[in-house]
């Protein structure tokens, strides 16, 4: 029996963009794409792809669909999960879909999942590195009425259920969840694999399945935001560092300790 997995993956600006190149257009409240730094698939979403691939490695017969909602997709970035080994790429690509808030994103994802499903597992990332929220997968679980486990660092298929490790502040929990469930995956799972040459070749031949809002029975009127963005800006930092310089590095270390004592910090 094939286990159908859908991985929710968002295209985001590369979070490794150097701070000096991170700029905002305050007239449109949006990030100005840094020159020569292409967008990427959100890091935690690649961890989720990796989680699905590990289920396949362990012998399960899995079909992995990657689903993304946005606009101005950069195919080189979005095909990375295919190159890693995912089977299908479904893109809901329409104007303004890169600016949705969590509630609207959930509506779109739910509509596609209802049309393209049923899926046995829905995997999302822990949070998207643009708005740093971690709402979408949790909201989707509420809207679809499915069981939810967040912050999964390990997952194994166990017949009709999944055994999970869930990260908590000082360790982890062992959890059993039924199938179908929604899980969010965190980086503790381990690094996403690098695509190999064969994967890259296969991905280049695969065509993404592209849907418009109309194809899933929605209009932009259905997607009004719950949170209204009023201002987006880079905060000014006025911290001034006091560099401690000794005769050599060892002396600097000593002087640093003395300076901290002088300030009554230690």
């Amino acid at each position: 029996m094939t286990v159908r997995i859908v991985v929710l993956a968002k295209q985001v600006p590369d979070p490794e963009t150097p701070p000096s190149q991170f700029k905002i257009d305050e007239s449109t409240n949006s990030v100005i794409p840094a020159n020569g730094v292409p967008p990427v698939v959100n890091g935690f979403d690649l961890n989720a792809v990796e989680a699905a691939l590990r289920l396949r490695d362990s012998g399960a017969d899995v079909e992995i669909t990657v689903l993304s909602v946005g606009s101005d997709f950069v195919m080189d970035a979005m095909k990375k999960p295919l190159a890693m080994g995912a089977d299908r790429l479904v893109l809901v690509d329409d104007a303004g879909l890169d600016k949705l808030d969590a509630s609207a994103t959930v509506k779109v994802l739910a509509a596609v999942i209802e049309k393209d499903g049923p899926f046995d597992l829905i995997l999302g990332g822990r949070q998207a590195s643009d708005w740093d929220q971690g709402h979408v997968a949790l909201g989707l679980a509420e809207v679809l009425g499915l069981p939810l486990v967040s912050l999964v660092q390990k997952l194994e298929m166990d017949g009709a259920s999944v055994s999970l490790q869930r990260v908590i502040p000082d360790g982890y929990q062992m959890i059993t969840a039924p199938v179908p469930s929604i899980l969010t995956i965190t980086n503790e799972l381990g690094e996403p694999r690098y695509p190999n040459l064969r994967g890259i070749m296969q991905a280049s031949r695969k065509k993404p399945e592209i849907l418009s809002l109309g194809d899933i029975g929605l209009t932009s009127d259905d997607l009004a935001p719950r949170l209204e963005l009023k201002r987006l800006y880079v905060p000014e930092s006025n911290r001034q560092v006091e560099l401690i310089k000794g005769e050599d590095e060892a002396d600097s270390g000593k002087k640093l300790a003395l300076r901290l004592r002088e300030e009554k910090l230690i």
Binding site: Y172, I175, P235
Partner: protein, 318 residues
Amino acid sequence: MTSVLLVAEIDDQGAISQTTLQAVTAANGLTSAEITAVVAGEATEPVTSLAVGKIVTISAIDDADIGVYDQATTDIAALVSSTKPDIVVFGKSDFGSIVGARLAFRSDSAFASDCIEISNADGTVKITRPVYGGSALAEFEISSTPAIVTLRAGAYEPDGETGSPAVEAFASNERASRTVSVTDTVSEARDGVRLEDANFVVSGGRGLGGPEPFSVLADLAQALDGAVGASRAACDAGWIDHSHQVGLTGKSVSPDVYIAIGISGASQHMAGCSSSRAIVAINKDADSNIFKEARFGVVGDWEKVLPSFLATVRELKA
């Protein structure tokens, strides 16, 4: 008048959590009416000194619910639909992040998480939250009710006020369907002070080059009665357990002194330590971002700087 419901959380020691005490300050700033606090979980000490008008207790959180919060969400959702607050405030924590989000989607309302500022102007709730890993700040307005928010640790100070609220119990008749079961909890052994509570934190990053140097950091932490933290890069490399990670997706700390060694100071790391009283950086790259965030710094190789720093600290402490 704006009605505010504060969702109070009991920490693993059985006391009202620090983030809850901070949230009381924020909640009291949103309305001139008295606020109601719902206490989720079993406290080992009386919670009746909280500076709120009324306390509602629910006893939803048993071990099987921790981390999943099916029953807690069900109970708090029932309370929200019967009392119809305009604003629901949580401290940001595992609990607040999960229950807040689920509650918002269940009641089809707005959710803003990890806010550093919240205000209320004639029924329009305004919040500010860091985005893009902390590289930017975003201001949002919410005009639908209830507005559900979580507040970042350290964003507000507990104001030290106490109250003598009336206490009543709330029981929802609804049982959550428990399809997910927690079978076991595995906790890292910890020696010394909790990272979140430490007055002194020494953190290491990728620049340490391997796991061994963390023992020197542990010596320094011990000399100053502090705790050891780390960047995500050091944790991901397997040099130290992830429970030591400081940052946006790790722990939030606000010690008197935060020493960052071999850490570049990415915004996602700083998100977890920027409310420290003083940040001290040891990094060999003078252009590293950490020097834009630090109050004191040494540009140099930690292998040469740290031993004399530790020795001097020990002398001063002797």
